[in-house]
Symmetry: C2
């Protein structure tokens, strides 16, 4: 069963405190400030275990590093194509149920992933500056 070790506890707490969607190494940097001798492997291992246990979410954004989500409730994500930041998307994408996908070529549907792509406010600002 799940032992609540010091490192596991700190990893979980730091992720929740950040209120962001961090990559393993970003979180590693944060956690090191509290527990300098922790190893990156431990961070990876625990993020995997915590997400398996449903205590955090795992975000597999297309073709990039995994990110981990402090918010376990169901929601989609938007991410910035420039800085790769990820944010929660709160809007309801009005009632998508597996059954609504119609003919799926014999697949049994288990879920879906919606990723909205865009440019975040910060990067929009920077883009405008460049134009000048």
């Amino acid at each position: 069963m799940l032992r609540m070790t010091n490192q596991r506890d700190i990893i979980l707490r730091e992720l929740q405190k950040s209120k962001r969607h961090l990559t393993a190494d970003e979180l590693y940097d944060l956690v090191k400030k509290v527990m300098p001798r922790i190893s990156l492997a431990t961070v990876y291992r625990n993020l995997e275990i915590l997400s398996e246990a449903g205590m955090i979410g795992k975000l597999e954004i297309s073709g990039r590093q995994k990110r981990f989500d402090y918010d376990v409730s169901e929601h989609d994500h938007i991410y910035c194509v420039i800085c790769h930041k990820v944010d929660n998307l709160d809007i309801a994408h009005s009632g998508w149920k597996p059954e609504e996908f119609g003919d799926t070529g014999g697949y049994s549907i288990t879920g879906y992933r919606l990723e909205v792509l865009g440019i975040c406010p910060e990067c929009l600002k920077k883009e405008k500056k460049k134009e000048k």
Copy 2:
């Protein structure tokens, strides 16, 4: 400008012939049968170039290897959570336009990616056998 080399031509042709969503190394194996001395790097380079040129599609399925699409027309994908095969999803997800995502926290929307997850017919069959 784009030189049509022998390797480029074969890579493109083999992908189209396969009618599947292949990874670079799957395609490499196919192409090697026709041109044994081709290198994996060349396959990667050309897939990148061909997708840039809009002659094939690039699929960045969450957290996995990239796959390349013989079909350039706009469509979403479904993929098998067991064998990781990817198929086209032809159904219209009725009129999604960037503007319809509502409040996006100041992001300027550039697109979205919809991935439906499921179990493919082949894997469903295998699962049933296991149950016995």
